[in-house]
């Protein structure tokens, strides 16, 4: 499955200039790759640079230096047309990622106008079925949706454009546990059905473990450890990874503490 790389990033560096202070190095010489149909995770705490990195990879955030190749081509400064459609994003605030003044259905219609050929493969109703939603929601405004529904719609909007890579920036962090599980299941299905590659950014161990094939551990702008998810979490090599793993309450640990308190 890891034969055709969908994303290859080398020496990715992102520096944010700040007025009156020293510039902030958010991402420092990072190498990242995602293969076709792979789900790769980036795990780290807030401030690690993972969001800056994911925004740059998606083409909506600045990239100070380094090379980025998406499905073999290097996008220019402004991503257009098919390049643009090839990488789609879903965000942490699902309701906030939709225009509050636009009905869902009109939003989809707009996307179809921007990419007429690329979006002709499926109807709105069938699209909603794929993500497990009723097409009644097409008439609604974002504020009338739950977090889970909004995130499914965001995913629907993303896959409508038939991307090769989906960048997911903390997509489950604002959702409750049950809904989180549903979204994870949906993403897995999409990977199976369409060979969709996913770059999954999160700080949540459980979710990353459940979903990702490989994981990169990010700390202060660098990848300190990288490898298949199971190996990295069960056998952490780097000091920071060990600390992260140790801080996660495990099922066994929770059971033990319950006994102690009882």
């Amino acid at each position: 499955m890891v034969d055709a790389p969908v994303l290859v990033g080398e020496h990715l560096t992102i520096v944010h200039a700040r007025r009156g202070r020293e510039p902030l190095v958010a991402v420092n010489d990072v190498a990242l790759d995602v293969g076709r149909g792979e789900i790769v995770g980036i795990i780290g705490e807030s401030g690690s640079g993972k969001t800056s990195l994911s925004m740059a990879v998606a083409g909506i955030g600045p990239l100070t230096s380094g090379t980025l190749r998406i499905a073999g081509t290097t996008p220019g400064t402004i991503w257009k047309g098919d390049e643009r459609a090839a990488v789609q994003v879903i965000f942490q605030d699902p309701v906030g990622s939709l225009d509050p003044r636009q009905r869902i259905g009109r939003g989809l219609h707009e996307l179809r106008r921007v990419h007429p050929r690329r979006t002709s493969w499926i109807t709105d109703e069938a699209l909603f079925e794929r993500v497990g939603l009723s097409s009644q929601l097409l008439q609604r405004y974002p504020q009338q949706l739950s977090g889970g529904q909004a995130q499914r719609i965001a995913i629907a909007r993303a896959i409508l454009l038939r991307p090769t890579l989906l960048v997911a920036d903390e997509p489950t962090s604002a959702l409750d546990v049950r809904v989180q599980a549903q979204i994870i299941v949906l993403l897995r299905e999409l990977r199976e059905a369409n060979d969709l590659a996913i770059l999954f950014v999160s700080h949540d161990f459980g979710v990353v473990r459940a979903l990702c094939d490989r994981v990169n551990v990010m700390y202060q702008g660098r990848f300190v450890e990288t490898g298949p998810t199971g190996e990295v979490f069960d056998n952490p090599q780097h000091e920071y990874t060990r600390r992260l793993v140790a801080a996660v309450p495990s099922r066994a640990g929770i059971a033990r503490r319950r006994e102690e308190v009882a």
Binding site: R84, F91, G96, S97, L111, L161
Partner: protein, 298 residues
């Protein structure tokens, strides 16, 4: 300059966090003030077809007749002016002009102001810097003085007056819209639209515009009142429309010398101006309370 309440001008910078549906009480207030306003607009539009005497017909023997409750007759319920012209008719026709200029001036300022505010706020960089400098310069020029300067050198006509009014108002739209746009452009949904490849033009003129429409409407409603006040000041100074067009400000100026013998000539137009502007301000206030929860003063 327009009488825009300062708390909108100052605090209008940050947008509401999430759009809120108007509360029922506020929706009612909008109707309470909006309907009379609508009626006024309608009446003034059909003024020419109403059964009123010709506002410009001079009857010198009927000069300075008092209004109904002060010794007058039903022939001229609000009395007559120095030249015997019917006050009621003149007030209604003056109202027509006031609303045309008030609304026209507002719209004429809204279009360039909102456009520049959106573009400057979204694009930032040198475009924004240039637009902001022009906005500040415009706001630095004292409104009436500027209006006077222009009207003195280019003559008086409805067109020139509307141009002048638009010059006086566009900068306020630009400032508020720009501030809101700057806050909006970093919102997640804008990022999502960019990621989806939606062209900038559409992001600005469909999405950002729709999300600033609330503030724009409030400002526009306030501006109408302000424009009417400015226009009446200009006519009072002799810079308004030319006869046979009728303006409340000019009526007031004409009545100034008669203040002791025929007080109604100067008083009634002033009452008319105050009532209409008060109504538009109340309407604007109701709009603001409904659509901008941050501005609720309670």
């Amino acid at each position: 300059m327009s009488a825009i309440p300062a708390d909108v001008a100052v605090a209008g910078a940050a947008p509401a966090t999430r759009p809120v549906a108007p509360r029922r009480r506020d929706r009612r207030s909008i109707l309470v003030f909006g309907i009379p306003l609508g009626v006024l607009i309608l009446v003034s539009l059909v003024a020419s077809w109403l059964p009123l005497p010709d506002p410009n017909r001079q009857m010198l023997r009927d000069s300075k007749l008092p209004p109904l409750l002060f010794g007058g007759s039903w022939d001229h319920p609000l009395g007559t002016d120095l030249l015997g012209r019917d006050m009621l008719s003149r007030l209604v026709h003056g109202g027509q002009l006031a609303l045309i200029l008030g609304i026209g001036g507002t719209l004429a300022g809204l279009l360039p102001g909102v456009t520049l505010g959106l573009i400057g706020g979204y694009r930032r960089g040198w475009v924004d810097a240039a637009i902001s400098r022009v906005v500040e310069a415009q706001l630095a020029l004292p409104g009436i003085m500027l209006a006077i300067a222009i009207l003195v050198s280019s003559g008086r006509s409805v067109t020139v007056i509307i141009v002048v009014l638009s010059l006086l108002s566009w900068a306020q739209y630009a400032r508020i819209v720009r501030a809101e746009t700057i806050a909006l452009r970093d919102r997640t949904f804008v990022l999502a639209l960019r990621a989806a490849g939606v062209p900038t033009r559409r992001i600005i003129f469909r999405h950002l515009l729709a999300n600033t429409a609330g503030s724009i409407s409030v400002l526009a409603a306030l501006q109408v009142g302000g424009m009417i006040l400015i226009e009446s000041s200009l006519s009072f100074l002799g810079l308004g429309v030319v006869a046979p067009d009728i303006s409340w400000g000019a009526m007031l100026a004409g009545g100034r010398d008669q203040i002791t013998q025929a007080w109604w000539i100067a008083t009634l137009p002033g009452v008319a101006i105050s009532l209409v502007v008060l109504l538009t301000n109340l309407f604007a206030d109701a709009l603001r309370r409904a659509y901008d929860p941050r501005q609720r003063t309670y």
